[in-house]
Structures are given as C-alpha cells and as structure tokens.
C-alpha cells in the first residue's frame, strides 16, 4: 500500500517538521518513504508545503499530484489543494485558522481547532503537532505506532524538554472530539 | 678556479623567452636565490600566471602549477591548504593580479593566506602586445589607449600595495623596483623576507616589483629603466606598506 500525504500552510507553522515526524515514523516502521519540501526564497511567512509518501514498495515519484491525505493550516492551501485530493481521500483542517468548510462531498473532512488547542496548552507553535495527533487518530493508513521513537529523532537534542511537550500536543489532537 | 657567479639551483637550464632588456629574468633570479638561500626548493610549489610569465613553470625547478588568468591566489590557496607544510608562491603580472584577478588577490590577502605573492608591475599587458593595464599611468600611450590613458574614460591606476594595506589581515606588503643595482638588492631582501614569513607561518606576504617593458613601451632598455625612475616610482612609491613584525 502507498499513502501520499500533502501538508501545507504558511512558512513557520512547522509544516516541514510535521512531515519529518511522519517520515521518521515510517523509517522506524521499516517502510519505504520519501519527504519532499517546497523550497522558496522566503524563510518565514510564505507558503510552505511538504509531500510525504509512505509505502510498502520502493517509492516512485516523490512528487504528489493527487494526495490521499491533505493536511492544511491556512485558507490559501485549502483553496489550492482541495480539488487535487483523491476521491475517497481525507482532508484535515486547522479550523482555528481556516474558517470555511471543505466543499467536496467525495472526501472525508476533519476539523480541529489545533491552533486554539495549542494556545490553551501554552504552546502555540505546536498547532502542527496537535493537528497531526488528529491525523494519527482518524487516518487508518497512519497509525500511532513508533511515534515516540520518531519524535525522539526529530526533536533537537538541545531541547529535550520539547519531547514531552510534543507528546502532549499529539495527545491533545488525538483525544479531541469534534 | 673559484666560481664567482652561477645560475641559482632552483632555476632550470631552460632558456628564458623574455625580450631583451626585460627585468623578468632578474626577478626570476631573485625568487630562485631566495628559494636557494632558504633551502626550500624541494618543498616549494610555484604557481605561474597568464601573461608574460606564463611559462615560469618551465624556469623554476620546483614543482609548478599553471593557473588560469588571475586565479593564481585561489589556486595557491588550494595547494597551501592541502599541503600546509610546503611553501607556495605565485608569480603574477599587473593585468593578472590587479585586473582580472583582483577578487582573488584581495580575498587571499584578507584571509592572511600563508602564501607569498610576487607581483610584477610593468604598467602594461606585455604578452598580448602592449595594451593598457590597471596600473598604466595617466596619459600613458598603449595599444588600447592610443591617445594616452584618459582617466575620465579609463579611470585611474590602482596602487595595489596601498589598497591591500588597508586590510587588517595581511602580514607583509612591500613595493620594490628592479631598475638599478641598489633597488635590485633591496628587492632581493624583500622577496627573501616574504618567503621567510611563510616558512614561519606568519601569513600573506606580497612583494610588488616595479618593472619595465622596453618592447611594449617602445623604448631602449636603458631608457625604459630611466622611465621607471622618472615616471613609475613617483606614482608607485617604494617602501614597506605593512609589516606586522615591525608593528608587533
């Protein structure tokens, strides 16, 4: 099985980090994967996206034209990518930052106020991780297995305290009910 | 019979191709004498320029590398970084060092790269037949400044030693001349010092040698040497511009 995940938002929201976490999780699971960032001249505030492909087979193209799973953290990303999602695919939306609903009825949409939940935790910059918690809960193709192992690899050794905080953020999303 | 004069050991027996009256031969000899005196021929790597001295690689008996036009300081940087225990020098003309290779020159200087640069300034592109150089004097007639160097059009000559002395890093910068016995002897001392600095790990040393080009200046060798004294040296004053040892 191959799962193509597209994560999109503003630069600085941790879009690439979310992708990295999924990539390391897949590596820990012994799966094949590719992680491809968009790269642009602006380091902060511009649009950012990240394509993660996880598969049991060697990954063909790392470029994702039609994702199985779309994770969006701003309105322009939803506007841009909603129509590209595969029929029967899933769209996860940070509903604090994106006011509108998904318009298609041939995909499953999930809404979670991840930025607000992160703010409530006192960690606004972990909204991406809260949102990812929801993905781990509701997306059958991406389980919670090996999350801790992956998190240890991506959280900087200089900030070990961030590990616990990230786990808390995952749980906040994982346990959230609409 | 006692030998009173002979070819320095670190020159090959290859016949020089330089024009009659050209001081390059003298300056080659000064470099070779310095190498001999310091006993470093076996560990020296020289870098030849593009210009009249392009075939210097055939004349020095140490290992040699021929660099692209202006790039000798970058090439020398590579060699010195790879072989820090060896002695690395470049031998460059004014077009090579102060025009096309100015960036390489300035940045090697500001890194205090531990190399020795011998910079021969004769105010003209010799090998290509006498075009205006970055160091051609105001009013100087050349093939590409046939009405004399017009500073409004071509700008002013660059005084390399003065310019590099403004940098914090370089260790030793001196200007000498090869136009008479007194100046040649002074040049010899400066060049040897520039090599000694490198052996002692002091850093970047550049010796500018004010020289002549009788062929392209259109003068007899004697007249050309007088022109060095009368025109060049007033514009390019001789002396030590930077010596961190003296300042220490």
């Amino acid at each position: 099985m191959t799962t193509q995940i597209l994560i999109a938002g503003f630069g600085g929201q941790g879009i690439l980090f979310s992708g990295k976490l999924l990539a390391y999780k897949a590596l820990s699971e012994g799966k094949e994967l590719s992680w491809l960032p968009s790269y642009g001249p602006e380091m902060r505030g511009g649009t950012a996206s990240c394509s993660v492909t996880i598969s049991d087979e060697p990954v063909g193209s790392p470029i994702i034209d039609h994702p199985d799973v779309l994770i969006v953290m701003n309105l322009p990303s939803l506007d841009r990518y909603e129509s590209t999602v595969k029929k029967g695919g899933m769209i996860f939306v940070d509903s604090t930052l994106v006011s509108r609903k998904v318009q298609r009825d041939d995909v499953k949409a999930f809404y979670i106020p991840s930025t607000k939940l992160a703010q409530d935790m006192g960690a606004q910059n972990l909204a991406n991780i809260v949102l990812l918690g929801k993905v781990l809960k509701d997306c059958p193709a991406i389980s919670r297995d090996y999350l801790e192992e992956a998190l240890k690899k991506v959280v900087s050794a200089r900030h070990p305290e961030m590990y616990e905080l990230n786990l808390k953020a995952i749980d906040a999303g994982y346990n959230y009910t609409e | 019979m006692a030998i009173v004069f002979e070819k320095p050991k670190s020159l090959t027996s290859k016949e020089l191709h330089y024009c009659p009256g050209c001081p390059h031969g003298i300056i080659h000899r000064l470099v070779a004498e310095a190498i001999d005196n310091l006993g470093i021929e076996g560990k020296t790597v020289g870098v030849a320029p593009v210009g009249c001295a392009v075939m210097a690689y055939d004349y020095f008996s140490c290992d040699m590398v021929e660099a692209a036009h202006g790039r000798a300081p970058a090439v020398a940087t590579g060699i010195k970084r790879a072989l820090p225990e060896n002695v690395v020098f470049t031998y460059q003309g004014d077009g090579d060092l102060a025009s096309i290779g100015m960036a390489e020159t300035v940045h090697a200087a500001t890194r205090n790269e531990n190399i020795t640069i011998i910079f021969v300034n004769n105010a003209i592109y010799g090998m290509t037949g006498g075009q205006m150089a970055p160091t051609s004097l105001p009013g100087q007639v050349t093939q590409t400044s046939p009405y004399g160097r017009d500073v409004k059009v071509a700008g002013y000559p660059i005084r390399v030693c003065e310019m590099l002395s403004a940098l914090d890093a370089p260790y030793y910068i001196e200007r000498v001349a090869a136009n008479n016995v007194k100046n040649v002897l002074r040049a010899k001392k400066a060049i040897e010092k520039a090599f000694r600095n490198q052996i002692e790990g002091k850093g970047f040393s550049l010796i500018e040698v004010v020289s002549a080009c009788p062929t392209n200046w259109g003068m007899t060798p004697q007249k050309a040497l007088e022109w060095v004294e009368d025109k060049m040296i007033p514009y390019y004053p001789l002396g030590v511009f930077k010596d961190k040892e003296a300042n220490a």
Binding site: K20, E32, G60, P62 | A74, V75, N86, H107
Partner: protein
C-alpha cells in the same frame, strides 16, 4: 551497508564525499544546494586534515579545487546552475591538466538567474563540454537519495582512475528531498599519483600541472591521448537502469527526478495494458547509446522525458539512428512533468504508431 538513515539528498552527497576520503571542499552559497556546503562547513573542520573554505566566488572555488587536485588529494566543489556556469573556465583547465576532481551541480531553472526550482536544463553544458576546448566530464545522474550517496563515491573513484573531472548532475528535487539511505562504508583510497605537485624533495624532476601547449602539434597529441582515455571510459563505464523493458513496446528515456515520475506513469499504463518500459541513463556521459540502439530494434518508439526544452532527446535520436519516432515530454523553468503528462505523450506515440 550501514543502517538506513533519513537524509536530504544534498547532505547524502556531502557525507558520501567524506566517506570517500574527500577532505577538501570549496564552495559558495547558492540555492538549492546550500545544505551541502553547510554540511561540509560543520563536518570538515572536525576531521583530521579537513579543509572547508567559503570562497569569494564560484570562480575562486573551482580554482582552489584545481590547486588541491594538483596535489593529488581528493577534492570537491558544489553549486547550482548559474554558479556552475561561472566554474566552467576552471573545469576546462582541470580537464586540460588531466586532474581528478568532483563537481556537483544541483540544477535549477535557467537561463540567466532563472529560478530556484528543479531543472535538467544543464544537460548540454554537462555533457557537451560546458567550458572551452575538446573535453568531457564523466557525468553521473542520481535518481534517489541513495544514489546521491553511491554515485558521489563512484565519482571520486572514476575521477582518480581516469584522471578526469567527474560531475554529479542532480536537480533541486533530488537535493531537497529526504529518503532512507544506507551510507557507503569509509574507504581509504590510495591511488598512486606520481604526477602530483607535492614538492620534489630534491628526489625527482619537477612536476608541472599545466594545460598550455603553444606548439599545435604537441597540443593535438595531448587531445588525442585524452580521447583515447575517453574511449576507455565509453567502453567501461556506461551505466543505466533498464526497467520493464523485457516485453516493452514503448520506451521512455528519462534520468533523475524525471525517471521517478516516469516509473509511476509506467505502472499506471501497464495497468491499462500498455507495454511501456524505461531506460534510465545513470551516466549521461558516456551516454548508454548501445542500450538505446538495441531497444530501437524491439520497441515502436521512444519518449524522452526531461525538465528542459529537450536536450537529452538529441542523444536519444543519435543513439537510435532514426529507426523509431522519438517524442519529447517536457516541462521547463523549474516545472516537472506530471504522471498524467507522461501518459498522455506516451499515448500519442501509441496512436502515432497505429496510424
């Protein structure tokens, strides 16, 4: 092979170079290869004899490479398209002086300042000379992060073996993407280099690293001798991947990221019953001419998939000797052909064959 780690393509090149014994790197910042320079800046100062230097320009960087290569030590520089243009003079000198060195080009769209998105539009520059004079580079084109590492290692070995600069021709996607990679083992490569300038120690005649020969007879001789070496490279070092070609009726030719997209297109078309295969050149100089020529006897046509206005297609046409139609499927300026586009052009070829 070691345990797989996740790395960006650019970092995999850097780490593989270190493991191939490269201790000298000279670079200048340019997107999208900067991670490579940054990796070297971090690692080399910590290694014995390691030299990292940010040069004042790409021109200086390649000439520093020339200097180190002359001493016989393994050396590398990297850049992206506009920077590689600046290095061409130095590359020509390195080729002319018969020095081994590795040059990495993580391509971006051009011409001019172009853009920063992935491209393959330096194909001509890499394979047809680039700088002045009669010379070639060995040009390797990775198609995965694993190959970014493996081919870097190979580039050093081939450069030493043939005294010839080798280029790793990647693109922005390959440089930026992460994949699991098993890094090559450390090698302690000791190739004899009696030509190197290391100081004569007064024990031998002086060595001269040089590309100047004022006598045309002598210069011609050096050219012929160099091309004898190139002939050996063409004979021994052609590398390509043949993918689903056994029963193929249509052959896609693509390298790098284009080959990855092509594989997805082939899977989709095979499900529809189209017998499509892929020849993926891994060396684009030497180009896998024989493989293409042999395929021409079996398939009904070719599609050259490229991130350029169509450069490799000329080599494909030369190799297949006008036996079959060759269509171009391309995007340019930093765009990448999609799976749908490749399918659509390949179907055009199928339709054309039926007419």
């Amino acid at each position: 092979m070691s345990e797989k780690v996740l790395m960006k393509g650019n970092e995999a090149i850097a780490e593989a170079a270190l493991r191939a014994g490269c201790r000298h790197y000279f670079g200048y910042p340019i997107t999208p290869q900067t991670e490579l320079t940054a990796y070297m800046a971090k690692r080399l100062p910590k290694l014995e004899g390691g030299v990292f230097l940010q040069a004042e320009s790409e021109i200086s960087a390649i000439n520093m490479v020339y200097g180190v290569a002359g001493t016989g030590k393994r050396v590398m520089t990297s850049s992206s398209s506009p920077g590689i243009s600046l290095k061409q003079e130095g590359i020509s000198y390195i080729a002319g002086a018969d020095l081994p060195a590795v040059i990495v080009n993580v391509q971006r769209g051009g011409p001019g300042l172009g853009g920063i998105q992935p491209s393959q539009s330096d194909y001509f520059q890499a394979t047809k000379g680039g700088g002045h004079g009669d010379y070639h580079l060995i040009v390797l084109t990775p198609s995965s992060v694993q190959e970014m590492a493996d081919l870097t290692h190979l580039a050093f070995d081939l450069a030493d073996k043939y005294r010839c600069p080798a280029m790793l021709l990647a693109d922005g996607t390959m440089g930026q993407m992460m994949e699991p990679v098993a890094l090559p083992e450390e090698t302690n490569c000791k190739v004899e280099k009696p030509w190197a300038v290391t100081g004569t120690e007064m024990k031998r005649e002086h060595n001269i690293i040089n590309s100047l020969y004022l006598s045309p007879e002598v210069l011609e001789k050096t050219n012929f001798e160099r091309f004898e070496r190139y002939a050996k490279i063409e004979k021994n070092e052609v590398r390509y991947e043949s993918y689903m070609m056994d029963d193929a009726e249509y052959c896609i030719v693509a390298f790098g990221i284009a080959a990855r997209v092509a594989k997805n297109a082939i899977s989709a078309m095979r499900k529809e019953g189209f017998k499509v295969g892929l020849i993926r050149p891994i060396t684009i100089w030497p180009f896998p001419k024989k493989a293409i020529r042999e395929a021409a006897d079996k398939v009904k046509g070719f599609v050259s998939v490229e991130l350029s206005m169509g450069q490799m297609i000329e080599d494909v046409k030369l190799a297949e000797e006008c036996l079959r139609p060759v269509l171009l499927c391309n995007r340019a300026g930093g765009m990448i052909p999609s799976v749908d586009q490749i399918i659509s052009v390949t179907k055009e070829l199928v339709e054309g064959g039926r007419k």
